[in-house]
Amino acid sequence: MAITEQDVQASEDAPSVNYLNNGYGLKSWLLTRDHKRIAVLYIISISIFFALGGLFASLVRFELMTPEGDLMSSDTYNKVFSMHGIIMVFFFLVPSIPATIGNFLVPIMVGAKDLAFPRVNLLSWYVYVVAGILGTIAVVGGGVDTGWTFYTPYSSTYSNSNVILAAMAAFMAGFSSILTGLNFVVTIHTMRAPGMTWFRLPLFVWSHYATSLIMLLGTPVIAITLVLLMLERGFGFGFFDPNLGGDPVLFQHLFWFYSHPAVYIMILPSMGVMSEMVAAVARKRVFGYEFVAFSSVAIAILGFLVWGHHMFVSSQSTYAGMVFSIITFLVAVPSAIKVFNWTATLYKGSIIYDTQMFYVYGYLGLFLVGGLTGLFLSSMGLDIHLHDTYFVVAHFHYIMVGGQVMGYMGGMHFWWPKITGKMYPDIWGRVSALLVFLGFNLTFFPQFILGYMGMPRRYHVYPDEFQVLNVASSLGASILALGYVIPGAYLTWSIFKGPKAPDNPWGAKGLEWETTSPPPTFNFEETPLVTEEAYQYGPIEEH
């Protein structure tokens, strides 16, 4: 089990000692403190929740094929969409990139042996698992029907479902992401290898730094909000119940204080993945590195000041609404900066048409639509009409699925050889990226039209005239599902049968490509010394 110094020295002759084959027993996985193994544990567990959330999504789309509620009762439907939201947001989207790819790469990219607190890292996975078990109990024990937003007083007083269990699960999942964020912040501050200055860090690390700040500053507020909700439901404390003097709108303020920044927890890491992949696909330094780096931080900061844009019609004060609206418009600017810089990176690049390139292009297209449609919703005059309609549903799916999930899938393909040491068939990667892109657009573009026509979200039955677009959306969803199942199949296949991956299959820059595939337990044979900028494919020309 334990490797000795002789083993490490011997590995130069036989480079087969890596983090994967360093111990095979269950115990060597469940008690590991290796960030890479914990990342793999996370990949397995969030995949399970992604599948579960996807299953609920398919049920929703099946039901909405017809205007009547013929597949399930309204109660069941409400539980299905609520559990889709809760599972996808708290158990998939928030941890998706940071806890998996981020966990694997942040220490390697900064040139460290591990995260600063390996045991805390393992603890965070266990907390996540316990949260997942609680969530599963809530689902199996009858479900929860409040929507992922848990709005009071419905959730605190009127709902007859497992609100406390679900809230507890979300609370604990949040705790796990606090621990991850804490580990990243400390690691990026103190564990950088010699020569790895802040402005030599890969942009992936910058985006994870920004994400971690949000995790540290935002998550405790959702935690306290859920505590108040549980106290109200469990003990009849009247924090949000108007009959007891409470204010239901206060819950929305507290909830969105976290949950809006949480959107940036979901999108920033995927922007980091994008920066890495754009550079590798074009074999070129990311254009305007500093601007892309600081735009992440700007998004993290501004993201905390826009929560009220979820409440333009909720009876919050008009002037508060104006402030939230204008800051929301401003938060669009750093996202635009990123898109322009990625585009400029491709200019005069050396672009290869591989799986990563398909994901990069798919991401750009979907994130553009998602980001731009945010302009409609931050306009107070338009949001009155669009709030709580399918327009909102389409918008945030373009951001979260078109953005984050595309980033996650793309990143998994990009670093798969590093993580597993195996290559997957590139043609299948391109096919599945294409399917995801087409299926996604067919699923969610019609929902913009539905939303502008006025179809409210969370509707089990709906007027007949909305059916055609809903059927289109459901058809798209089946293509989208295929686009997710196929990678599941060939990636799994590649673990067993795939050809062995070279250390740097894409000819990319970055410390992770300088170590072996898969990396040794402590990431590098010896602590790397960094002497160049990130993405230095050749001599850099200043303007």
Binding site: P153, F287, G321, A336, I352, V369, M453, P456, Y462
Partner: protein, 316 residues
């Protein structure tokens, strides 16, 4: 009016056109930027396809001028849209002073609506063409949201407080009324229809059917039933303030401060009387919490609103 496969909602209120104009304005902006980026990246992909495995392109660090350019342009455009949208918003939330009053109470899972003339409706609302209508809304239980897509209006209906919404219908017809805020099991069936009638048809509808008690009359009955009139005497000699002509005024409060007598203030004074006591009076009024329904409170408010000038109503 609705085809089988519409792609755009009816424009049936005075500001539907303005909202749609903003929508298409932003849409044009979005299409421009989306096409710009998409066309560029596609051209780049074709033009700069990797020729050989060891090809290394020129490394361009960045360009400050470009960065400033594409930071400033989106920022200016975004602020322009902000101004446009916010001006429109103020128009959407500011009813004209002469608007007709109607009242809405949401409960799981129905809309209860009442006209000042007394006509009550459930899940249906009849409004006259070309008249501004202002709704005062509250909820008996959870959050709801009152949404008429064809009018481009929506407002949350919140328990424990009043919210308002106004519109002016400009096209005769029947339109969807939705609950847009998730409110439990039958949320998607908490829907109704808004009927826009020609003014004369509206009059006929209003007076047709069974005779209705106007809301202010119903409110006056409640006013006596709950013995409000024993303290709130119209001539001001009672233990509570006279309510004549009080609505819409700003009054001084016991312990300092002032309050505008509006729907929310009257509601609070009925349910939580000692919260804001008028200067010169003692906090002796008992609460009526749990005794009067939301609809009853609305009727009382309609009655108090009708008490315009002291000399007209001090006949008793």
């Amino acid at each position: 009016m609705q085809t089988d496969f519409p792609l755009f909602p009816d424009q049936a209120s005075s500001f539907a056109f303005q909202v749609d104009a903003l929508y298409f304005g932003i849409l044009a902006l979005c299409v421009f930027f989306a096409l710009l980026v998409v066309i560029l990246v596609v051209i780049f992909a074709i033009k700069y396809q990797r020729k050989s495995d060891d090809e290394v392109p020129r490394q361009i660090a960045g360009h400050l001028g470009l960065e400033i350019f594409w930071t400033a342009i989106p920022a200016v455009l975004a602020l322009g849209v902000f101004v446009w949208a916010t001006v429109l918003y103020f128009h959407l939330i500011t009813p004209p002073p002469n608007a007709m009053e109607m009242y809405v109470v949401g409960k799981q899972w129905m809309w209860k609506l009442q006209h000042p003339e007394g006509k009550k409706e459930i899940n249906e609302l009849h409004v006259p063409l070309g008249e501004s209508v202002r709704l005062t809304m509250t909820s008996e239980d959870v959050l709801h949201s009152f949404y008429i897509p064809a009018f481009r209006v929506k407002k949350d209906v919140v328990p424990g407080r009043y919210t308002n919404l106004w519109f002016k219908a400009t096209q005769v017809g029947s339109y969807h009324l939705f609950c847009a805020e998730f409110c439990g099991t039958e949320h998607s069936r908490m829907i109704g229809t808004v009927h826009v009638l020609e003014p004369q048809d509206y009059e006929a509808w209003l007076t047709g059917g069974t005779a209705n008690e106007p809301m202010e009359v119903a409110g006056e009955r409640l006013f006596e039933q709950y013995a409000c009139h024993t303290c709130h005497k119209m001539d001001g000699t009672g233990r509570g303030p006279s309510l004549s002509g009080l609505f819409g005024k700003t009054v001084a409060l016991e312990g300092g401060g002032t309050a505008l007598v509006d729907e929310a203030y009257i509601r609070e004074s009925i349910l939580n009387p000692s919260a804001k006591v008028m200067a010169g009076y003692k906090p002796i009024m008992p609460t009526f919490k749990g005794q009067i329904s939301e609809e009853g409170i609305i009727q009382l408010i309609a009655y108090i609103k009708s008490l315009k000038a002291p000399e007209l109503t001090s006949m008793e």
